[in-house]
């Protein structure tokens, strides 16, 4: 038993750190440093640089273009990438559809999609939630009727992140409305977003950003070859996808980056006539966050190593702990940044700046974006199963109550 990194792990971490430092484009890093979420082109550019290095598909097996890392290495890579203020790789492409196709896809599907996903030649989005099916996903209603070689899809999806950028969408549809159990009538389809009958309607989030969408399907024809796994067995695929190694869900590196940024900026703002960084209460708040992040870091490595051992594919229920504690820290750390920025965090600067003919004002941008990420990450305890749902999962899976 040893919590320290092995020399190999340290060497690996240093290699990753050096590569990101040397190859992350300066303009992207600057935007990320100011707290902006990456634009599509930022994510694409960075993921292609990683892909050339063979690192983009960090959790894929070698044969499909993955680096063949063990879970600890993946963990290190994700943390370094987040702490370096680099865009995160597209989770839809890398941690969702990639592993799904590798596990359930036909050879044709693998050949057609995997390498393009790794390189973001195709941008993927996820069509799971519906207005009536949020936490209760299995109640989804979007229907797919089989008409000779096609499924005809009708219905509506919601919270479809980046659908407005997407080339493809993986969708859960109901192919058998009469199945005994709701879970048994669902299939998993790959849908070309250019197919006629698809309408994407933006949803503006409370931070003013456009990440989410509603997607309407009106007699959308999807070739049967675009179904993954057997008909009416889509729930297995969804469960695999949602459970599939949830290494990343804590997004600890992001919280660490936020706390580091808060400390950096706390040197430049005032509190009772001194730099905020000198205020005892602020230091206590940071120290408490650093304690909680350290605990989560170790718990995360415990879960990851355990996962590396038990190869039954089932997710460790403790990954719910990562989700809950990880999102609590994401929210606490972004809240900290906003509080550091103080009154300057309240203006809608970032948007205003564009309009106002003034010289750029990085500090103001950072301050405004600190609120942007605070607001946007209020959703962190909601998406991917609310923290309340996570505790229900722990109740069933671990407490067995």
């Amino acid at each position: 038993m040893d919590l320290r990194f092995t020399p190999e792990e340290i060497a690996f971490r240093d290699e990753v750190r050096a590569f990101i430092r040397d190859h992350l484009p300066a303009d992207i890093h600057e935007r990320m440093r100011l707290g902006y979420s990456p634009r599509k082109e930022d994510t694409v550019r960075w993921q292609r640089i990683l892909n050339r290095k063979g690192w983009a598909a960090h959790n894929w097996p070698k044969e499909w273009g993955g680096p063949g890392w063990n879970p600890v290495q993946r963990m290190i890579f994700l943390n370094e990438n987040q702490q370096a203020q680099a865009p995160e790789v597209s989770s839809f492409a890398i941690t969702m559809i990639g592993p799904v196709l590798i596990q359930f896809g036909t050879d044709a599907q693998k050949q057609r999609f995997l390498s393009r996903a790794a390189n973001l030649d195709d941008w993927w989005c996820q069509g799971f939630s519906e207005p009536g099916a949020g936490s209760d996903l299995a109640s989804l209603k979007t229907s797919a009727k089989r008409v000779n070689g096609h499924y005809v899809v009708n219905g509506q999806k919601i919270w479809t992140s980046t659908a407005h950028h997407a080339d493809w969408c993986f969708v859960l549809v109901r192919t058998n409305p009469n199945a005994a159990k709701r879970q048994e009538g669902i299939s998993f389809l790959l849908v070309d977003m250019k197919t006629p009958g698809i309408t994407v309607r933006p949803i503006i989030s409370i931070d003013g950003s456009h990440h989410l969408n509603e997607v309407f399907f009106d007699d959308v024809k999807v070739p049967v070859e675009m179904r993954v796994h057997e008909e009416n067995r889509g729930w297995d695929v969804a469960k695999y996808l949602l459970g599939n190694e949830r290494t990343g869900i804590a997004r600890l590196g992001k919280s660490q980056e936020r706390v580091a940024a808060a400390k950096e900026h706390a040197r430049d703002v005032r509190f009772n006539g001194r730099p905020l960084i000198d205020d005892a209460a602020f230091r206590q708040r940071v120290a408490q966050l650093e304690v909680d992040m350290k605990a989560l870091e170790i718990t995360q490595y415990r879960v990851v190593s355990a996962y590396a051992k038990q190869r039954d594919g089932r997710p460790d229920p403790l990954s719910s702990v990562l989700k809950v504690k990880g999102t609590e820290l994401l929210q606490a750390s972004t809240e900290l940044c906003m509080d550091v920025a103080g009154p300057q965090a309240m203006p809608l600067w970032a948007q205003e700046l564009a309009e106002l003919a003034n010289e750029p004002d990085p500090e103001a941008e950072w301050a405004a974006q600190s609120t942007g990420s605070y607001l946007f990450l209020r959703a962190a305890s909601i998406y991917g199963g609310t923290n309340e749902i996570q505790k229900n999962i722990l109740t069933k899976a671990v407490l067995r109550l």
Partner: protein, 378 residues
């Protein structure tokens, strides 16, 4: 100890409540946002008709001599409606400055116009480098023939963009952070050398960056005693803390009502989410926070007229911490219980959330006021 409202107060409460119910739904509000000023001049006239714009001013100046409780009743309803108009900026903040520091001539010149809705003010004190430090004033006022010349910049001036007159603080003496040497000036917003950059805050209310370049102010427009503006500034901010508390209580009430309704109607796993005990207890916790926040707002309201400045400052800090923490908890949980839909611009909940957020970060956040209280622990 008496928590009853007088008949006049109840009358006032009813009339404001009715006005907002009739004219200020979340949808009509969307329309008001489209107006170039970012709020509704039409509603502003209604406020004038109801006498809200002259509420706290003396009768001989066209006001109604209302006190902190009257202001609380109005602000609570404005909070419930997320009202966008410059009531806090004009009536509560700058209005208090003029009321406490203004000569009879100044008050007679200004208050009737305000009461009739013909003039709006803004309180231009905060500076970008100051964050929450109220003595951190770098804007200077230098003596010149028959008046003063102002240079500097003011930041996040609430409704500074639509103000006709600005109440501006500047240093006539003393170093940065010195308590003495700060003077208040009444400045025409269109005076030469005054440049304003208006924008929306995260809650869609308006504010402005104000830059002052060689702005000449005649002696007649000095507000109060030269070099002794700080006590006035403190009372202005205290009036603001009390008024924003009432606004926050109104916002929390609506957040709690909306979340309660949603928990009754939103179904998951075949039943309303409000059937989940965890949701029920969360709503109970929100209710308790709301009531504790309401109590602290009452404390602030009562303390506005407390003569002892030390006691007053202490009560205000307690109140700001108390209702600020309550508003943060209630608004965060309102979004959490709404789930995804609560994260969208379309729903009102996110707007109330952001109003609570802006209130918490105005005139000292929780950490700032808790630190003030901690210093005094003995």
């Amino acid at each position: 100890m008496d928590f009853d409202l007088s008949d006049d107060q109840r009358l006032l409460q009813d009339s404001v409540t009715r006005l907002m119910a009739d004219r200020y739904t979340f949808d009509t509000r969307k329309g008001f946002l489209k107006h170039p000023s970012g709020w509704s001049p039409d509603i502003w006239d209604r406020y004038a008709e109801l006498g809200l714009l002259g509420l706290p001013f003396a009768e001989q100046h066209g006001g109604f001599g209302g006190g902190p409780v009257e202001v609380m009743l109005v602000m609570q309803q404005l909070g419930r409606a997320l009202a966008l108009e410059p009531y806090l900026a004009t009536i509560v903040l700058a209005g208090t400055a003029v009321r406490l520091a203004g000569s009879d001539a100044q008050q007679s010149a200004i208050f009737p116009k305000i009461a009739e809705g013909r003039m709006k003010l803004a309180f231009a004190h905060g500076e970008r480098q100051a964050r929450y430090d109220i003595t951190d004033v770098l804007t200077t006022a230098k003596r010149n023939a028959g008046g003063w010349v102002l240079d500097g910049a003011k930041s996040v001036v609430l409704h500074g963009d639509s103000a006709d007159e600005l109440v501006i603080s500047a240093r006539t003496a003393g170093e940065r952070d010195a308590a003495a040497g700060i003077t208040l000036f009444l400045v025409d917003a269109s005076a030469p050398g005054v440049a304003r950059r208006g924008y929306a805050l995260r809650d869609e209310s308006r504010a402005a960056e104000v830059s002052l370049t060689g702005v000449h102010v005649p002696d007649a427009d000095v507000l109060g005693e030269v070099g002794n503006g700080l006590p006035i500034i403190e009372q202005v901010i205290e009036a603001g803390i009390a008024a924003m508390g009432a606004e926050a209580v109104g916002a929390m009430e609506v957040l709690h009502e909306m979340t309660l309704d949603y928990s009754r109607t939103r179904e998951q796993f075949g039943r309303p989410i409000g059937q989940n005990q965890v949701v029920q207890h969360r709503l109970a916790d929100m209710l308790m926070s709301l009531e504790q926040g309401r109590s602290m707002t009452m404390l602030a309201t009562m303390s506005v007229t407390e003569p002892d400045a030390t006691q007053r400052a202490r009560d205000m800090s307690m109140a700001k911490v108390g209702y600020g923490q309550a508003a943060r908890f209630v608004s965060q949980q309102a979004i959490q219980l709404h789930g995804g839909i609560g994260m969208t611009e379309e729903l009102a909940v996110g707007h109330y959330f952001r109003r609570c957020m802006v209130i918490e970060h105005t005139f000292g956040d929780t950490a700032f006021h808790l630190a003030r209280l901690a210093e005094q622990v003995e």
